[in-house]
Point group: C2
């Protein structure tokens, strides 16, 4: 049945997306899950009423979350993905042949099941041979690791309900401990367009800045996310994403990507003045 | 009276913006004009049902349209604005002290009147002392100019109705002739997110590429425009916006800007692979 899905950017701004058909609607132990088929964005994974992944533009988010940190690290071997049950992050990680272990910790098996069923171009990531999938609480999982990972990618939902733990200071501290000396952490960090999300972004940045010596924001255009501009945070003890950009390895790997490239890597760190101004106390 | 304004991105994607009040609604000789007061975007100028300018984010569009070409030209003295009846382009031009003549050609006096009345932070541009305002057809105006301007900025609406002429090959040719040897032209060029706008962008690019030796796309985030990513075209005979970026003058002018800065100037030319692929036949 055709209808309009409402993606609420704020109480006063709503993106209405015309839906052809609801492919799945259910409730897991953790959240409401819907898979919708839309005219403009292809199939859409909706978690607790919020657009999570669309076939049209998921590549932008997933490429930026993965290749920016992977091409900042000089020799990444072990990666941890927290969340990421759709498979998109792993799909991009699998383009890096030097990785020999990828651990994915997703709390909700139903997300993985339904993405495997309805979003094959995203969940193709689960075919990666070096992958171990754990259906656990990511915040618990990371507590037991020390000096182990080269890269940690936090592919969280918004900080409500299930996702809340993945925005807390203790969790970030545990991630820091789980990383090796040259380790890198990346997390999605919402949008600066609306006040509520900007507040979340600033809170994340403040917490991470107390733990990691290097913390930088980068941006990408994600049309289906709140008004297009999306921010990410990259943190490390030692590696600067511009100074340490591994451009030679980037050229060697020859990614077949649709968004990320060497110019985009560098350009994504150029912040508009209004965004710099929000973070100039650090 | 409160209501929801519908900004149609496509027939299947609509941004709904909650309106506090309609400040003005009328019809000029050229178009329907509305000024709305919204909760999230401040006051909005709507022309023929399409969001044209919002108080929240007009600075992004206007700064990028002006400072990218102005800091590409080595010594701009004379500028022509075609369209731009809200005053935002002129406001940004007035930050360049070396300009000694700014001509603005707007077909619709009612746009200027209503922006002066309801959008003072934008229409403040009309106070610029070097400004001449002509209420004429921009396409006609430019026919009579030869080897005269250093910079031409086409601040057009979408290519429907009144705005259509400003997307035609003959008009671009006349702009080329109106420019001096080192002259630069900039135009807004829609978004690549939806097919119809991408088609317009490609058509503009094709036409301009047959006339100007140097033609480049650049991008900015404009939240109130279609799904956030907005494109611009810069063209010239001789000046490359990266190689000829006048970074020394930029530092001297000390703009008080909210979006544009030297990093953003360079970064705005980094195009995602999917966008490059659309233009790789040129």
């Amino acid at each position: 049945m055709k209808y309009w899905f409402q993606d609420k950017y704020s109480i006063n701004t709503i993106l209405n997306i015309k839906i052809k058909e609801t492919l799945f609607k259910g409730r897991s132990n953790y959240q409401r899950i819907e898979i919708l088929d839309s005219y403009d964005f292809g199939r859409i994974l909706v978690l607790d009423g919020i657009v999570n992944v669309t076939e049209k533009d998921e590549f932008i988010y997933h490429e930026m979350m993965v290749h920016v940190p992977l091409f900042t690290h000089s020799n990444p071997k072990k990666a941890l993905v927290i969340g990421g049950g759709d498979g998109g992050i792993v799909r991009e990680l699998s383009k890096h042949p030097q990785l020999n272990q990828i651990d994915l910790v997703e709390i909700d098996p139903m997300v993985v099941d339904k993405c495997k069923e309805f979003l094959p171009s995203v969940s193709v990531g689960f075919k990666e041979s070096h992958l171990n999938v754990y259906f656990e609480d990511g915040a618990q999982f990371v507590k037991n690791k020390e000096n182990f990972y080269d890269v940690i990618i936090i592919d969280s939902s918004d900080p409500v309900g299930t996702g809340k733990k993945l925005f807390q200071r203790n969790f970030y501290k545990n991630c820091f401990r789980a990383l090796k000396e040259e380790g890198i952490l990346t997390a999605q960090s919402e949008t600066p367009t609306f006040e509520e999300e900007l507040r979340i972004m600033k809170s994340m940045y403040t917490k991470l800045h107390r733990i990691f010596p290097i913390v930088k924001l980068f941006t990408a255009y994600v049309p289906s996310y709140t008004c297009g501009i999306w921010c990410f945070i990259i943190c490390s003890r030692k590696c600067d994403p511009l100074k340490n950009f591994q451009v030679k390895r980037y050229k060697k790997v020859r990614l077949k990507n649709r968004y990320y490239n060497a110019d985009i890597h560098r350009a994504s760190f150029a912040l508009p003045n209004f965004l710099k101004a929000e973070f100039n106390n650090f």
